[in-house]
């Protein structure tokens, strides 16, 4: 007898799964796909997977891994079984994300302005001012349209009890959107037969949405027509493929720091074969600290000397604005629901994960007492580095981390271990439940726009909670269903 892909999937229970409900029945949005997959064998899957990997490899859709020798490229492992989100649920997520970004941008204007939220004691001053993302030099500066965080990526997971929750916000230079677009392109080529009858929401217009957002925040003194560029740290950056991909899709120059120069007039120019050309908007994919060696790190070779002078004079726009990082600090995150209530006078539509800040004595006590039930995270690292899962750690590891927490309480938070949802993912010969998260991208300019879906990342190892690509995670296409006829 031939084995089919979903054989035995529900046997271990489906307490929190995207495809199956706890009773082991298909959830409605997955029924059509599930019934198709019940007839697929491992060979059917392997054959498609091979074609997908080949397409990604030959297209050079790769990322660089920092810990390996320079220039090492890998493809981001890709899993063919998509995440599916129903139309109704999506519209709620979308409103929640718009609400969140609206509040976070108001928070940023306030923090670099009158600091009303601190004066009214909604969030402790120390938390805000000690954040590494806080840029004192931005105080008093108001970027065009009062937006600091133009491009955001919010990581969502579905918790067994709470439903969809925001795990973290990424407001500096969130990456991954090129994979969203490429994954869809590969799916359309390799598994056209799996797409649902009523179709899924298209995502191909992300680059044009991004472009109109960039132009909407141009400075008042822009040239005509205005010119935008994408500033990359260069070929060896782990997200270089994405920089190249996006600039190509938008038809704007991909530049390195040395391609730009600031004139005596404090405007920014591009060095071209015909002379200098003025630049109005810079979508920068380099960190604040490297933007301008005259202003931040003097040893930066990536930046443009004088860039911040031009920026403060309102001669050029930077996307995202320097200093936006204070609002995606993992400690500030704990206060985001309060931030939403404070500025919008609304209840948050999307919940936060319960978070304990080691800086608050009562919460530090809680972390010490319940360490085994918590995930302890450094506040200022990304990519899943330094995260300790209490339930899986050895006694020595736990003790070591707790000592670090007490030594630098500002730098640590703790959250309960979430039993977040799994999605069927191919592993050897069958589909197995693997945990996943979802990162939608939100663009804030004259209007706020959310990509329908986003990047679904999946842990490829059994039992793993870590979905980051640098730690062996993979990705999936995300389908937001169109409304059917009923």
């Amino acid at each position: 007898m031939t084995n089919h892909l979903l054989d035995g999937y529900a046997d271990d229970g489906t307490a929190c799964d995207e495809m199956f409900d706890p009773a082991g029945e298909f959830r409605p949005e997955y029924r059509e796909l599930g019934e198709l997959l019940q007839r697929w064998t491992a060979d059917d899957h392997l054959e498609r997977e091979e074609r997908a990997d080949l397409a990604l490899l030959s297209a050079g859709i790769t990322f660089n891994v920092y810990s390996e020798e320079e220039g090492t490229e890998r493809i981001f492992p890709f899993s063919l079984i998509p995440r599916i989100v129903g139309a109704q649920e999506w519209s709620e997520i979308e409103s929640g994300l718009k609400q969140r970004l609206q509040a976070l941008n108001m928070f940023l204007i306030d923090v670099y302005g009158t600091q009303r939220i601190i004066k009214e004691q909604v969030i402790p001053e120390e938390i805000v001012l000690s954040s590494p993302g806080y840029q004192p030099k931005m105080a008093g500066f108001r970027p065009p349209l009062d937006i600091y965080a133009h491009i955001a990526g919010c990581d969502l997971v579905r918790d067994r009890e709470q439903g969809m929750v925001v795990l973290e916000d990424n407001l500096r230079t969130p990456s991954g959107v090129s994979y969203v677009l490429e994954n869809r392109a590969v799916m359309l080529r390799v598994v056209p037969d799996l797409f649902p009858r009523w179709g899924v929401r298209a995502i191909a217009d992300y680059p044009s949405q991004l472009m109109s957002m960039l132009l909407s925040v141009r400075p008042e003194v822009s040239s005509d027509p205005p010119r935008a560029v994408l500033l990359t740290p260069g070929l060896y950056n782990s997200a270089y493929f994405e920089h190249s991909f996006l600039s190509n899709q938008m038809g704007i120059p991909l530049v390195e720091g040395s391609d730009l120069t600031v004139g005596d007039d404090d405007f920014v120019y591009l060095r071209s074969t015909t002379g200098l050309e003025r630049v109005d908007v810079i979508y920068r994919r380099i960190d604040d600290d490297f933007l301008d060696p005259e202003f931040y790190r003097p040893d930066s070779l990536l930046g443009v000397p004088g860039l911040m002078r031009a920026y403060h004079k309102g001669h050029v726009s930077l996307v995202n604005a320097p200093g936006a990082g204070v609002a995606d600090d993992k400690v500030v995150y704990r206060w985001v629901p309060d931030i939403i209530r404070f500025y919008l006078d609304e209840e948050p539509i999307l919940a936060n994960v319960e978070t304990f800040s080691a800086l608050i004595p009562s919460e530090l006590d809680h972390i010490r007492a319940h360490a085994r039930e918590l995930v302890i995270k450094p506040a200022n690292a990304s990519g899943g580095y330094g995260v300790l899962i209490g339930a899986q750690a050895s006694a020595a590891e736990l003790e070591d981390t707790l000592a670090q927490v007490e030594a630098e309480p500002r730098n640590w938070i703790a959250q309960p271990l979430l039993e977040f949802s799994s999605i069927p993912t191919f592993d050897g010969d069958l589909l197995k439940p693997r945990r996943s998260d979802l990162r939608p991208f939100i663009l804030s300019g004259r209007e706020t726009w959310v990509i329908p879906g986003g990047l679904t990342r999946v842990a490829l190892r059994e039992g793993s909670y870590i979905v980051n690509s640098s730690q062996g995670g993979g990705s999936k296409d995300t389908w937001v269903l169109n409304e059917g006829p009923d």
């Binding site: 490899l57 030959s58 297209a59 050079g60 003194v221 040239s223 260069g234 070929l235 270089y240 190249s244 991909f245 600039s247 190509n248 120059p253 991909l254 530049v255 390195e256 040395s258 391609d259 120069t261 004139g263 005596d264 007039d265 405007f267 120019y269 591009l270 060095r271 071209s272 074969t273 015909t274 002379g275 200098l276 050309e277 003025r278």
Partner: protein, 325 residues
């Protein structure tokens, strides 16, 4: 167009053309070696790279052969493999300026190289044939899928400059045959050598189609230097370089393009004013030497005056005033 991008496209054109030439020359050389029983790889090493580097590298790895050095060794920056690795690295940084088809073909060639980490002598023929075919595919795709903007003109400039250089090297490697006559000149060995030259320059069919009935060194050199119709001749390449340079620099200020423009124009006029008879009398080797020197100068002017010119403050001021007004 961004100066860095223009420079990299220029070099992408150069490297791809270089790789195609090395692969073709190596293939011919391999066949000639097999057939004649004579190991003549060393002349190819001196055509494309430095002999000194070969002997230095040999000191560290005594098993190194001329053919491995020429085709595979990453210690030789002019080896076929090293050239292609650099071309792919450039292309990776130019993806928004080349078509997806071109990129995927360059990347596929790189993956093909990556699969053959070890040098296998018996595999040379297959390897060179495949590499040459793939490189030609890339050049063809480039011509048919990439927007014909300034960047494409720089790519072509690099390609023709490199081709002119390579053809001149192929001729130079055999110039001694045209020196005052030895016994075997005009004999079977001589004809054999000139046939190899024609094949090294992809010129065999062209030579016969032009109505020649026998292989004559003077006629071969004439074709490779002066032909207006053969797309690898020095005259053809210089003329193409001139045309593409003009198109690339249509909007470049005069003072930035003047040096290279003068160099290319003079070279073009000079070739047009000569003929084969005179070259044989004056010395073919001296002519080729001078030709290569002038290509180097043209390359230097393009790099220093156009790609890497530091814009001055006065210019930026003018530009700002012009735009604000």
């Amino acid at each position: 167009m961004l100066s860095r991008v223009a420079e990299n496209l220029f070099w992408l054109g150069r490297y791809l053309e270089r790789a195609e030439n090395i692969a073709r020359m190596a293939r011919v050389e391999h066949e000639v070696s097999l057939e004649s029983g004579q190991e003549i790889w060393h002349s190819l090493v001196s055509t494309t790279a430095s002999n000194q580097l070969f002997w230095d590298t040999l000191a560290d790895s005594p098993d190194l052969t001329h053919s491995e050095f020429l085709i595979y060794s990453m210690q030789n920056p002019a080896s076929l493999r090293a050239t292609l690795v650099r071309a792919r690295e450039l292309a990776r940084g130019l993806r928004e300026h080349i078509s997806r088809e071109v990129w995927e073909e360059i990347n596929a060639l790189y993956l093909y190289l990556a699969l053959r980490k070890e040098y296998i002598a018996s595999d040379i023929q297959q390897f060179c044939t495949e590499t040459q075919r793939r490189t030609q595919t890339i050049l063809g795709l480039y011509d048919n899928t990439v927007l014909r903007d300034e960047g494409r003109e720089w790519f072509r400039c690099g390609m023709y400059l490199e081709r002119a250089d390579m053809t001149s090297r192929i001729i130079d490697a055999k110039y001694h045959i045209l020196l005052p006559r030895g016994d075997d000149v005009g004999g079977p060995f001589d004809r054999f050598q000139w046939m190899a030259v024609l094949r090294s320059a992809s010129a065999r069919e062209a030579y016969w189609r032009m109505g020649n009935s026998e292989v004559d060194g003077i006629v071969v050199a004439d074709l490779l230097i002066f032909s207006q119709e053969f797309p690898r001749s020095l005259a053809f390449c210089v003329q193409a370089l001139q045309r593409h340079f003009q198109q690339a620099t249509g909007e470049t200020p005069k003072r930035r393009r003047a040096g290279a423009e003068r160099g290319i124009t003079l070279l073009h006029l000079d070739i047009g004013a000569r003929d084969m008879e005179q070259l044989v009398d004056d010395g073919l080797h001296e002519f080729i030497d001078d030709f290569q020197q002038r290509l180097i100068e043209i390359d230097r002017s393009i790099t220093d005056d156009i790609f890497r010119a530091e814009p001055n403050a006065e210019q930026s001021q003018q530009l700002a005033t012009a735009e604000q007004g």
